[in-house]
Every structure is written in structure tokens, then in C-alpha cells.
């Protein structure tokens, strides 16, 4: 029994690591623009589908992975330039509708380009499963965790130890005053979309060997990413990391102990509870936006 639970936890850590990446994208965009980007999961879809399609056409995996991340980043840039920036000044509900429209459009585009068949990708490295205290972890899981470490490490260094990162934090803390100091808010909004899309795309690339890629995978990852982001705190990057892992583990436990249907359902129950009891999330600050 304990061994079985441990195995669920390990499986949860692997999906949780991906959720954390998607959640990081949500948090980046939410912090800089105050917007919940419902299309976030689709960037992971674009990353995963691109890398699979390119690898299938014979391109070496590292090159395909880089191009896939670039493709996702370009999609993020286009989303901002074509849909978000023209609607600036619109109210919050309108912006929600716009990002929902982006989600629907990107999923349709994925279907258009890649069709309905799932695409698969070989793991980055071969080898036998790794055993940790009797639980098995596929080798690809290490790549996923490594990606998390690199991405969150890079975000930490950027926000804490670079001039640009400090400027972004100033812009988040007080947009009008930051603006009077010459901090370009709109440029930051653009780059937040690019960065969020690139991170989401990278998540898609590393998960592709584990869950094969389909045009509608973005919905699952996007929804899980929200839950993780809200759980950890929408304005907290460490929260995204904690929320991602917590959600992944709880989901796999619920899926193993209750039923596969509740694997997804439990996350949304948690989301509702968090929104009602602790809207700022586990690590977020209280009442930044009422």
C-alpha cells in the first residue's frame, strides 16, 4: 500500500513539474498585465506538437526542441500584438473573453496544422527506469525536473539580480510611478507574453515523450496550470512551483485512490476552495487586486 502511494506521489511530481511551468506563465502575465491568459495551455500544445512534427520529419531532437520553443514564443508575441494590445483599455471581462477566443483559435489552428492523430517523441535519453525508494521514475522525468530547476532558477536570477528584472518588479508594484521613471510598461507586457509562451512551449517539449502530443492537450495543461497558479498564489512565482507540484501529487493520489475521473475533478474542487477561503493562494500576498 505504502509502495503504491509512493508511486502515485512520484507520478504526481512528474506532471506537477509540467503544471508548474504552465503556472509560471500565468503568473508572469498576471503580474505584469493583471490578465488571466486562458490561452496559456495552448503554448504547451504548440511546443509539443512542433517538436514531435519536426522530429518525425527527421530533424535532430535538440534542433527541433529549440525551434519548438521559438514557435511557441512567436505565437505568444502574435497573441499579444494581434489580440491583446489592440484591445487595451477594454474592461476586465472583455479581456477574459479575448484570451478565451485566443484559446479556441489556437486549438483550432493546432487541429488545422497537425490533425487529430497523436504525435509521439522518443525520450531525450534512453535507459531503464530509475528507482527511488522502490518507486519507478522514467528517465524523461529527470529532464522535466531539470527543466523546472533551470527555468525557475533563471526567473529567480532575472527578478532578483538583474536591472531589467528589478524594473519589472517596480512596474508590478506600482505601474504609474514606475512609468514616470521611464519604465516601459507596454514593452514589459509584450515580453511577459513572449516569456510565458516560451516557458509553456518548453513545458510541452519536455512532456511530449511522456504523454504523446495531441492538438487538444492545451486544454488539460491550461486548466491544470490555472489551478496550480491560483493554488500557489497568482502573484507568486515560487507559488507556481509549489502549486504545480502540490496539484500534480493530489491529482495522482485522487486518480489512484478514487477514480480517474476525479483525477481532474479534485483539482477544480481545490480551486473553488482556495478561491473562497484563501483567494491569495498559499504563497501570494493578500488583496492585491480585489
Amino acid at each position: 500500500m505504502i509502495a503504491q502511494l509512493w508511486q502515485y506521489v512520484l507520478a504526481g511530481v512528474v506532471v506537477g513539474a509540467i503544471y508548474a511551468l504552465v503556472a509560471a506563465g500565468f503568473v508572469l502575465i498576471y503580474q505584469v498585465t493583471g490578465l488571466i491568459n486562458f490561452a496559456q495551455g495552448e503554448f504547451a500544445m504548440i511546443g509539443a506538437m512542433t517538436v514531435c512534427a519536426l522530429a518525425a520529419s527527421g530533424m535532430p531532437a535538440p534542433g527541433a526542441a529549440v525551434l519548438a520553443v521559438i514557435a511557441a514564443a512567436v505565437a505568444g508575441a502574435l497573441c499579444y500584438v494581434l489580440a491583446i494590445r489592440p484591445a487595451r483599455g477594454a474592461n476586465g471581462v472583455t479581456l477574459i473573453f479575448i484570451t478565451l477566443g485566443l484559446d479556441v483559435a489556437l486549438r483550432g489552428l493546432g487541429l488545422f496544422i497537425w490533425g487529430t492523430n497523436p504525435l509521439s517523441l522518443n525520450p531525450f535519453t534512453g535507459g531503464a527506469a530509475i528507482t527511488i525508494f522502490g518507486g519507478a521514475l522514467p528517465p524523461q522525468a529527470l529532464w522535466v525536473l531539470l527543466t523546472d530547476a533551470i527555468v525557475f532558477g533563471a526567473l529567480y536570477v532575472f527578478f532578483r539580480h538583474t536591472h531589467a528584472g528589478t524594473a519589472v518588479r517596480a512596474a508590478v508594484a506600482n505601474p504609474p510611478i514606475a512609468s514616470t521613471f521611464g519604465i516601459p510598461l507596454r514593452t514589459f507586457a509584450f515580453w511577459s507574453f513572449v516569456a510565458a509562451a516560451a516557458i509553456g512551449g518548453l513545458g510541452g517539449v519536455v512532456v511530449a515523450p511522456i504523454t504523446s502530443a495531441t492538438y487538444d492537450m492545451g486544454l488539460t495543461f491550461g486548466l491544470a496550470g490555472f489551478v496550480a497558479a491560483v493554488l500557489g498564489g497568482l502573484d507568486s512565482l515560487p507559488g507556481a512551483l509549489v502549486g504545480g507540484f502540490a496539484l500534480g501529487i493530489v491529482e495522482k493520489l485522487a486518480g489512484g485512490l478514487l477514480s480517474t475521473g476525479w483525477e481532474q475533478g479534485v483539482g477544480f474542487l481545490i480551486l473553488v476552495l482556495v478561491l473562497v477561503l484563501r483567494p491569495q493562494g498559499l504563497l501570494g500576498r493578500a488583496a492585491r487586486r480585489a
Binding site: 490578465l35 488571466i36 494581434l82 489580440a83 489592440p86 484591445a87 477594454a90 476586465g92 471581462v93 472583455t94 477574459i96 473573453f97 479575448i98 478565451l100 477566443g101 485566443l102 484559446d103 479556441v104 483559435a105 489556437l106 486549438r107 483550432g108 489552428l109 487541429l111 488545422f112 490533425g115 487529430t116 486544454l219 486548466l223 490555472f226 489551478v227 491560483v230 477514480s259 475521473g261 476525479w262 481532474q264 475533478g265 477544480f268 474542487l269 480551486l271 473553488v272 478561491l275 473562497v276 483567494p279 487586486r289 480585489a290
Partner: protein, 312 residues
């Protein structure tokens, strides 16, 4: 604008059309009517009261499942099932409103999305209502010994649209409607003027669930088959599409939005494969998403705002 009279004219038009249309199009007409009903209710909540719901399909599902369970398990006529479905949807909305309506904008959107998905998981996991295989052979409507055919369902759906639009039309022109618009302009200001915002939002949310519940009950009987995938998150997104494309603060917007989205889906499904033979599946969603974004940027108040009605 005389909502009731125009709705009656539409109903007569549908009643005549069904005798000439092939049965496939009659089915589409029923579908448009039922979607329009849901969207009219949604427009009261989103357009007039200024809130947002990404879980409306769940209320349609509750109406459908309640009516189907009554008919299949209890052999209760769908006419009563429709009332029970609406009542059940209203009850669930009432309970959930205490959770959801404390939140605004972004968080309200997330909460309604989550509740909609949880309700769908409940459908999927409840053995009593067929779990993932749903209900088959749901008994149809009948008057006396006369069982409903496709034509009768189209007329029923549009009769409900007519009633729904007449009722909502009276509502939005009353002090209730003006109070809703005040809430959407600013809750604090509305409360300062003596509007009980929380109560009104709750009533509107429940009313929108009633519209969806009725539509769901008719949907279950007219298609005689439902399962959890019929009421997924994607359908909720489609209702938002219809609402926004038609015009969110407009009752006719609900009808026009449903018509445009269903018709566009049909047209795209026929035209796109001719232009791009490799396209398959539900690709028209790309165009619907793109149209939604374009509309929100260029024509934020929907198609009907061009008719000058949205100012009402």
C-alpha cells in the same frame, strides 16, 4: 422594442419553415433555439449584470440529466421533467451562488469554470445517471398520444425562446433591469443608490440557470441521448462565443449569436475542406475564436449593437 411580438413572429416563421426544410435543418433549428435560450439567460447575467460565467453548460446538463432521470427511471413525462430540470438547475445555482458570486471578474471566471468542470465530473462518476455512457433512449415529449417529431421539437424550442425573450424583455425594462445595469456600471455605486447587488446578482444567476435547465431538458428528449461530453467546458465556451458575437447586453443578441455560431460552423465545415483538403475535425473553432477576438476589438457590443438595440 416589442420583444414579445417579434418573438411571436419568429415562432410563426419557424412553425412554417419546418414543413419545408429537410429534417437535418429542422434539427439544426431546434439546436439553435435551445442554444439561444441558454444564451439569452447568460446575457442577463453577463451583459446586463456585468458578471461572467464560464460554466453555463453545466446548468444545461443538470436540466438534461434531471429530466432524463425522471423520464427513464421514474417514467415521468418530460413536461414535468422540464419543470424539475429547471428547478434543479435553479437550486444548484442558488447554492453555488454563495461560493461564486463573492468573486469578481477574473476570479469569478475561474470559479464558474471550476464549478462547471466539477459538475461534469459528477455526471461522469455517478453510476445512477449512467456515468460516462449517460442516458440512452430518453422518452420524448408528447401531447396526448401524439409523440413529438423533429418539427414539433423545433416549434417547442422556439416557443420557449419566445417566452424566454418576452419574460427577459419585461425584466430588463423594469426597475430590476435598470438595477442590473447599475451593478454592471459599478457595484459600490449601485449599492449607494440602494440596490441590493448581492441579492440581484444571485437572482439573475439563478434565472440564467433556469433558462439553461429548460433548454437542457428539451435537448435530452429531442436528441434522446446524453452523456457528460455533451455538456463539457467547451460548450460553456461556445455559449460565451454566442453571447459575445450576438451582443452581450442584448436579448436578441442571444438568438443572433446562436444562429451565427451554428450556421458558421455548418458553412465552414462545408467550405474549408474544399479550399484545404487536409483539414479535418472541429477546425472551424479557429475561425470562431478569431471572429470573437476581432468582434471584441472592432465591435465590442456585438452584432446587434449595429441595430441600435443595445442602447435599450
Amino acid at each position: 422594442m416589442a420583444y414579445g411580438r417579434i418573438a411571436l413572429v419568429l415562432l410563426v416563421l419557424v412553425a412554417v419553415l419546418v414543413w419545408f426544410l429537410p429534417s437535418y435543418y429542422t434539427g439544426l433549428l431546434t439546436q439553435i433555439g435551445l442554444y439561444a435560450l441558454v444564451t439569452i439567460g447568460l446575457n442577463l447575467f453577463m451583459g446586463y449584470a456585468g458578471q461572467v460565467s464560464l460554466g453555463q453548460a453545466a446548468f444545461m446538463g443538470i436540466g438534461a440529466y434531471t429530466s432524463a432521470a425522471f423520464a427513464v427511471k421514474g417514467h415521468v413525462t418530460p413536461w414535468l421533467g422540464m419543470v424539475a430540470g429547471a428547478a434543479m438547475a435553479a437550486l444548484v445555482a442558488y447554492v453555488l451562488s454563495f461560493v461564486a458570486l463573492r468573486l469578481r471578474e477574473n476570479l469569478l471566471a475561474l470559479a464558474t469554470l471550476a464549478l462547471g468542470i466539477v459538475i461534469n465530473v459528477v455526471f461522469n462518476e455517478s453510476e445512477y445517471i449512467g456515468a460516462s455512457s449517460g442516458f440512452k433512449d430518453i422518452p420524448g415529449f408528447a401531447i396526448g398520444s401524439l409523440a413529438f417529431d423533429q418539427r414539433a421539437y423545433a416549434v417547442l424550442a422556439w416557443a420557449l425562446v419566445a417566452i424566454g425573450i418576452w419574460f427577459a424583455g419585461n425584466l430588463v425594462r423594469s426597475s430590476f433591469g435598470r438595477a442590473l445595469i447599475a451593478i454592471s456600471a459599478g457595484e459600490l455605486g449601485a449599492e449607494a443608490l440602494g440596490v441590493d447587488a448581492e441579492r440581484l446578482k444571485r437572482q439573475t444567476f439563478v434565472l440564467s440557470a433556469v433558462y439553461a435547465g429548460v433548454a437542457g431538458a428539451v435537448y435530452a428528449s429531442s436528441f434522446s441521448y446524453i452523456d457528460p461530453t455533451s455538456f463539457s467546458f467547451l460548450l460553456s465556451v461556445n455559449f460565451v462565443l454566442m453571447s459575445v458575437i450576438g451582443g452581450i447586453r442584448s436579448l436578441w443578441g442571444g438568438v443572433i449569436g446562436a444562429l451565427v455560431v451554428v450556421a458558421l460552423g455548418q458553412i465552414l465545415q462545408n467550405v474549408v475542406p474544399v479550399v484545404l483538403p487536409s483539414a479535418r475535425g472541429d477546425f472551424q473553432s479557429f475561425f470562431l475564436g478569431a471572429i470573437l477576438i476581432a468582434m471584441l476589438i472592432l465591435l465590442p457590443r456585438g452584432i446587434t449593437s449595429r441595430f441600435g438595440e443595445a442602447r435599450a
